[in-house]
């Protein structure tokens, strides 16, 4: 299946099958929700402000879950402003397919740029995270 290796990279398959940030944490300060009405995928994100720990409860495809996982890795300890910047860089990367050295493991998702209907799967966790950070505590 060489034709899909670019999309379903080992790290994506691994993080989908063995998530590290899945489930509702005992403590959190903010939460946000993301829905993809096209396919019924949904994600709920929990943020613990102290050090921006992110957890998620997800119902969706491999791309969305892996994206939520890699996002949780990538935002750990960041300020809200830094997260907003990461999100922008991430969305640019998955839309254009051009990897960005500052994004680290998130670059594993660059393959979605070739699957237009799947970009939304990769960005949904970030929308939910933004909703959490912008919403009331």
């Amino acid at each position: 299946m060489s034709e899909t290796a670019d999309l379903y990279q080992a790290i994506i398959m691994d993080r989908t099958k063995n998530p590290r940030h899945a489930g509702k944490p005992p403590h959190f300060n903010r939460e946000g929700h993301g829905d993809n009405p096209m396919c019924g995928d949904r994600i709920h994100v929990y943020v613990a402000d102290d050090g921006t720990q992110v957890h998620h409860e997800s119902r969706g495809c491999a791309i969305m879950i892996a994206s939520a996982e890699l996002m949780a890795d990538a935002v750990a300890g960041l300020t809200a402003d830094a997260i907003a910047e990461r999100r922008k860089a991430f969305e640019a990367m998955v839309t254009t397919g051009t990897t960005n050295p500052t994004l680290g493991d998130l670059n594993a998702l660059s393959g979605v740029s070739e699957y237009r209907s799947r970009i939304r799967c990769a960005t949904l966790p970030w929308s939910a995270l933004t909703a959490a950070l912008e919403g009331a505590k």
Binding site: E3, L7, G40, G60, C61, A62, R118
Partner: protein, 414 residues
């Protein structure tokens, strides 16, 4: 093992030649189009008819006194006759052209629903409806005080008659709005029986024929349907044209849907009067070219014939069910006795989206998601499925290609 391209029932090779798009490649692979339930491809006859209309015989309808307008009006109205004959409606005036099935149902909800149904009346739908046959009734419920009741289906995906009887028990139900064939489970509903049941309880019946009309002969007088709707684009016709059938006496009592040109008898600033059906419900310039295309699509389908189409698709469905059910970890939704060429499935460990993307890379087009039937997904205990749908041009080889493709998906997600 599968039958050769030449089916016993129809010449698939010849039919495929009629559909130019089927020769396309996708991602460098031969296109295997298994998403006809969402929208079917178009035969040359439809494309040519629409081209001919635009190139040789086009003007606005019903208003010009000149040759072109008269000829175009004739061609447009001929499709009304053709559609009436296709469905065995009692008269041509019972056929109203809309944009699609969705608009047809909304038209009924807005006119029949507001003018004839009264607050406190109830409408029954089933658990296997497309959103198009849920949301308009919810809107009517909220704006007009109608009660909306949901009849259950069984685990095998058939209508539960006990539940239906319960919903009708208090005599408040005035309309049963139900699918003729589920776009998710492939289930055909027993429409004659349902119509008799509704009528015996003093209710009208609306059938959503979006899927069914493509696969079997529909005889509206035999069914005794009060309302029937479908979209041209699933019947190998163009987008932008749909059909609403309603019995004449119902249409006569219904107020207009949209106001404007063509739907009036007379207009003054004080008062306008409405044209008779069907024109009362066709405000503004209609989809003339698309209507001509629908006429060609009906001609095309009838030239192949429903006996052959139905037999071919039955063979495809049997082969599809047998082949896919052999794949370990694959679950097929629904097991109705009377089912057509719609196979929705889930695969252990693989989300429907991922299945669809991996199949797409092999040139195989299936749909993935909730198929505009979110409540039904919940009822079947899934959040989304992948779905393969068959058409008259589908070949046994394409079903084998799907099975091979799914085995590859399994490898990736193992």
């Amino acid at each position: 093992m599968s039958a050769a391209l030449k089916s016993e029932f129809l010449d698939v090779t010849a039919i495929r030649k009629d559909f130019p798009i089927l020769a396309q490649t996708v991602h460098g692979k031969k296109l295997v189009y298994l998403d006809s339930g969402a929208s079917a491809q178009k035969p040359r006859m439809v494309i040519d008819a629409m081209m001919h209309c635009m190139e040789a015989q086009y003007a606005n309808v019903h208003r010009g006194l000149h040759w072109m307008s008269e000829r175009t009006s004739d061609a447009y109205e001929a499709v009304r006759d053709k559609t009436a004959a296709f469905l065995n409606a009692a008269s041509r005036e019972e056929i109203i052209f809309t944009r699609n099935a969705t608009e047809s149902i909304n038209l009924i909800a807005h006119t029949y629903g507001r003018a004839i149904l009264k607050p406190g009346d109830a409408i029954v739908i089933s658990e296997m409806e497309h959103h198009a046959n849920i949301v308009p009734w919810q809107m009517l419920r909220d704006s007009h005080g109608i009660e909306l009741r949901i009849a259950k289906i069984t685990d095998s995906g058939e209508l539960d008659f006990t539940s239906l009887e319960e919903k009708f028990a208090d005599g408040k139900v005035k309309l049963l709005a139900i699918t003729h064939m589920s776009n998710v489970l492939g289930t055909y509903t027993p429409v004659e029986r349902l119509a008799a049941f509704a009528h015996a309880h003093g209710a009208k019946i609306l059938l959503d024929g979006s899927q069914a009309v493509v696969h079997r002969q529909v005889d509206l007088q035999a069914i005794d349907a009060d309302f029937y709707v479908f979209s041209g684009h699933k019947l190998y016709g163009p987008t932008g044209i749909g059909v609403l059938y309603a019995k004449r006496e119902l249409l006569d009592a219904m107020p207009p849907f949209l106001g404007g040109g063509d739907m009036i008898a007379s207009v003054s600033y004080e008062r306008s009067t409405w044209a008779k059906p069907p024109y009362r419900f066709e405000a503004g310039t209609p989809a003339i070219i698309e209507t001509i295309g629908l006429g060609a699509a009906i001609d095309y389908v009838l030239s192949i014939g429903f006996p052959a189409i139905a037999a071919h698709e039955r063979a495809l469905t049997d082969h599809g069910l047998a082949t896919l059910s052999k794949i370990e970890g694959l679950r097929i939704l629904g097991a109705a006795q009377d089912r057509g060429g719609v196979i929705s499935f889930t695969m252990e460990g693989a989300h429907a989206h991922d299945i669809a993307t991996l199949l797409d890379r092999q040139g195989i087009a299936v749909r993935a998601g909730h198929h505009c039937a979110e409540p039904l997904m919940g009822r079947m205990g899934v959040t989304s499925t992948a779905r393969a749908t068959f058409a008259m041009y589908t070949s046994m080889e394409e079903i084998d290609a799907l099975a091979t493709g799914l085995l590859r998906v399994k490898q990736v997600f193992a």
